[in-house]
Symmetry: C2
């Protein structure tokens, strides 16, 4: 339970608070908490997802935190009041340049609940049609189509190491498509 | 490329820097970056992992960020210079009270590379023997054994929503055990 909250930094992407907290046993302590508005991510199928070895549109993106590129699915922060599915559609258009005829929810994950309240709503999309890119100035993105079989191999061998991306691939393979 | 870095907050778990960065196109900008030492997490099998529907020892843990409990696998921050596998063994003993006769690497994930350099090294463990708990004062943990089949259902239906935990379950089911 929150007893007090002190805003240390109000940032562009995240805010940092140091909160005074009462724990379940009645004791109190201080916790650093990164406040994040939440995000949506979408795994886009460029071919029939129920066909043999469907093609997924990944993005290869420079990540300063990683000091290099990561293979990811399109994703981005929720705007204030934005429905996560609308956010997923918007990011898919902005980052990959396609509109989704169909978009379905996978699940919602807490990225790293030890120090942030960020959750990501995961979706898959299909029936894609070409739209108009609108990347943000600090996004450096290359679209990278890969068959699901190759994506699974990359997850297994560590070539795909972004958590939301690896999880979405395994989720669609295991549950949505039942491979 | 980093041009400058300003430490905004030096915390107990994480530090916050605001860095001035040169992007791949030569432009510059500022990025908030949560510095984290990295972590290890381990999915512990209480029965033969290659047997029928093996039992996994989860923990149910109060998470302030979530304002409630999460079902997770044991995990924790790396100590300075600590080998991730040693960290996984240590957290398994501290949080679940068991020693691992066998521990194997799954993969390494970036939890949320948009704003933190945190990566988590994932392992699975088996051949467990009873050890001595040593929980930290702000950890409120209940050990919760579940068969793999139930864990998979919980991932599918959202009852397991911690990213490292959901990913580790799908990873062992899909790759390690080949279910």
């Amino acid at each position: 339970m929150q007893l007090a909250s002190k805003r240390i930094h109000k940032g562009r992407v995240i805010d940092l608070d140091v909160d005074t907290v009462r724990f379940p046993d009645g004791s109190t302590g201080q916790l650093e908490m990164i406040r994040h508005p939440g995000a949506a991510a979408v795994l886009p199928f460029a071919s029939d997802p129920h066909g043999a070895d469907p093609t997924i549109l990944f993005i290869k993106q420079y990540r300063y935190a990683v000091n290099g590129p990561l293979i990811e699915i399109p994703a981005g922060r929720l705007n204030p009041g934005e429905d996560p599915k609308d956010c997923a559609r918007r990011e898919l258009l902005e980052e990959v340049g396609v509109k989704a005829g169909r978009i379905e929810r996978l699940t919602t994950i807490w990225t790293t609940p030890g120090f942030t309240d960020e959750k990501i709503h995961l979706f898959w999309a299909s029936d894609l049609t070409t739209g108009k890119h609108a990347r943000e100035p600090d996004e450096f993105i290359e679209v990278m189509p890969k068959p699901l079989s190759e994506a699974l191999t990359l997850v297994r061998d560590g070539g795909i190491s972004d958590a939301k991306t690896a999880l979405s691939i395994l989720f669609v393979a295991g549950f949505t498509l039942g491979h």
